[in-house]
């Protein structure tokens, strides 16, 4: 699969082939009756990395996480933690902690007792004094000093989120699993917590696995993102890698914004991939992913790759400007081509046209540099 390619690239980046991964999924599948929630998941989670599962609702992210935590047993395949097969190991025996989407804080315990819960389960017992110190430090880390005696229902949503985090990190797990931990927070608080999460991960050096359907969140926080679709891993890679080298339209669309034009792919005389569109249009592009040599495909071009010009461009396309949205650093233009239809182009503020700006209904030309266009699967 295409994920293989990026996996290899990733290994190259980190040069960590020799280090044993913290956790690993090997061909793991899970079905609930008729529903195939996860199919053939294969993934290595490296020590100290921040990995995200990204995908739309119902694609199996939570299922994958719950198999790592031990709440679900795979139907087939192997889950490994620290090199050991843990398929049948109960959650309470795994060196893994989870931050639940709904926090799942104990309502009958104070903040401090919630945080110390995991430490108090340890056998042989940890000394009271040590527990106290660790709890104090964990609450300090999530900036909740002084809230020890509070009851859970006396805390705001953001504070509860922090308690949940403290309750997990205080155990110093090998793997911290976070299931959409920020989904319930408002936008501003979510941004703050994202930064805190990232700081926390660097500071503690714990491996984080985050589940999210918010691409921005995944892009800004993760070292690597694992994009999922309908129970399968579609592509794994660094945020840059996914953005620059999406292997399918699904990934290009999910990670960032892109223009897609459907057509038929073929290999030209020079051995290069080209896409033939309706109306006799033809574009050269870099073929990515497991694309058939011939057949249906699509062309993907990121908006910021598209150059807009008032002067006719050699080999460019003539378009009509339809809309303009000022975005501060950039201006987003929606232009229309007779055959391609609507095209989004992002012009930086400094560029000559960015300064003066196009007006609605104006004629313009667009083109893009060699190598900017990718030819990929339509799904």
């Amino acid at each position: 699969m295409d994920s293989q390619a990026s996996q290899a690239e990733y290994d190259g980046d980190f040069g960590s082939g020799a280090i044993r991964p913290v956790a690993e999924l090997r061909g793991v599948s899970k079905s609930f009756g008729e529903v195939l929630a996860a199919q053939d998941l294969t993934l290595r989670i490296e020590a100290g990395e921040f990995l995200s599962f990204l995908g739309p609702s119902g694609c199996g992210k939570t299922t994958a996480l719950r198999m790592l935590a031990g709440f679900e047993t795979p139907t087939s395949g192997e889950v490994l933690i620290d090199g050991e097969r843990v398929n049948d190991l109960a959650p309470y025996r795994r060196p893994v902690n989870m931050v639940f989407q709904s926090y799942a804080l104990f309502p009958h315990l104070s903040v401090a007792d919630n945080v110390s819960y995991g430490l108090r389960q340890r056998r042989p017992r940890i000394e009271r004094r040590t527990i106290q110190d660790k709890v104090t430090r964990a609450l300090e880390t999530v900036r909740l000093t002084g809230f020890e005696k509070r009851r859970i229902w006396e805390m705001s949503g953001g504070q509860q989120q922090r308690v949940a985090l403290a309750r997990a990190i205080v155990n110093e797990p090998k793997l911290l699993l976070l299931d959409e931990p920020l989904a319930a927070l408002d936008r501003k608080l979510r941004k703050e917590m994202q930064i805190e999460l990232q700081d926390l991960q660097r500071q503690l050096g714990i491996t984080f696995v985050l589940v999210t359907h918010d691409q921005e969140e995944a892009l800004s926080l993760s070292d690597r993102i694992c994009v999922m679709r309908a129970g399968r891993i579609v592509q794994i890679g660094t945020p840059q890698d996914l953005y620059d080298n999406p292997q399918s339209r699904y990934v290009a669309d999910f990670v960032g914004v892109s223009n897609f034009f459907d057509g038929a792919v073929f290999i030209d005389a020079g051995g290069r991939a080209r896409l033939r569109l309706a109306g006799g249009l033809e574009f050269e592009g870099r073929a990515v992913g497991d694309l058939a040599a011939e057949g249906e495909a699509c062309l993907s071009i990121r908006p910021e790759q598209i150059r807009l010009s008032r002067e006719p461009l050699e080999g460019g396309l003539e378009v009509v400007v339809q809309n303009r949205i000022f975005l501060g650093e950039h201006t987003e233009y929606l232009v229309r081509h007779a055959v391609l239809g609507p095209v989004i182009a992002l012009a930086p503020r400094q560029s000559e046209i960015g300064a003066s700006g196009f007006v609605q209904g104006e004629r313009a030309w667009i083109d893009w540099p060699d190598g900017a266009a990718l030819i990929m699967r339509r799904i």
Binding site: F71, S102, L109, Y117
Partner: protein
């Protein structure tokens, strides 16, 4: 109409009901308890503490009630909890309703008939015959405190199961997962999460059953066979048979006082238990 007036109007029917159905009869009983028995029974107005001074005559009834009611409540709770737990936590949701209905099915027939069934089971041709056939000797089950206890537990079990079931059913299952995730084995999770969070249900069930047991008379009558009688039996006797209304009222007032005291103490205890921090609190 002001908000305040409207509130009063809304409360009025309940207040009226409360006055007529509860306060009035209780006042009558209270007044009667200071009176005297008429020559042909009934009540003759007077103001004397004689009836209260006579209370020790019914000591055994009070003793039986005050031993068997809490014991029966405790036994019913110990049996109901695992049952409710199984129903609420372990049972497939599609079976829950059916099984719950089965719990209340016994309520569809009168306790009188069901107690008669127990008379047979515990009587000479029931379990004792079986034990004798196995050569384990001759045992008397019927007309013992034990028989009354069995009857009580059997009769009041559904009342105990329901509140416990509700509190366990409402328990967020993710809390159990969180506990397991934090390293607690199943038994620790049960005692540290499930039990504390089901205390409100247990408390409600115990209170319901205890209060009703304090006034019970049918089960002791049938399964106690006149040997094990409750305050309730004493009341039936005093009001219906010997027609000593004044003394009966004194017994009733005494029962109410005892109940008020125990229930108050009990509620205080539960409230404290519920707000107390975890036993191994570190702070």
């Amino acid at each position: 109409m002001t908000q305040r007036e409207r509130n009063w109007l809304l409360v009025a029917p309940a207040a009226g009901w409360f006055l007529v159905m509860l306060v009035l009869p209780l006042s009558v009983v209270f007044i009667f308890s200071f009176g005297e028995r008429g020559a042909a029974g009934g009540y003759v107005p007077a103001f004397t503490f004689e009836q209260y001074a006579n209370l020790p005559a019914r000591f055994t009834a009070f003793q039986n009630t005050l031993i068997l009611a809490p014991l029966g409540t405790l036994a019913a709770m110990l049996i109901a909890y695992p049952l409710a737990y199984q129903l609420a936590v372990r049972t497939d949701p599609k079976w829950k309703t059916i099984l719950l209905v089965l719990v209340i099915v016994p309520f569809w027939t009168s306790i009188l008939i069901r107690s008669y069934a127990w008379i047979y089971i515990l009587g000479g041709r029931g379990i004792p015959a079986l034990i004798e056939a196995m050569g384990l000797g001759d045992v008397q089950l019927i007309y013992t405190p034990f028989a009354v206890l069995i009857g009580i537990v059997y009769g009041y079990l559904p009342l105990m199961v329901f509140p416990i079931y509700v509190s366990l059913d409402r328990l967020d299952k993710r809390l159990l997962e969180a506990s397991s995730d934090l390293g607690a084995p199943p038994l620790a999770t049960f005692f540290k999460v499930t039990v504390p969070l089901s205390i409100p249900g247990v408390a409600t069930g115990c209170m319901l059953v205890f209060i009703l047991l304090m006034g019970e008379f049918l089960i002791p009558l049938l399964l106690g066979g006149g040997k094990v009688f409750f305050v309730g039996n004493a009341l039936v006797d005093l009001f219906l048979q010997s027609r000593n209304w004044a003394f009966g009222s004194a017994v009733a007032v005494m029962l109410i006082v005892i109940m008020l005291v125990t229930v108050t103490v009990y509620m205080r205890l539960i409230a404290r238990l519920h707000t107390s921090r975890d036993d191994v609190s570190v702070m």
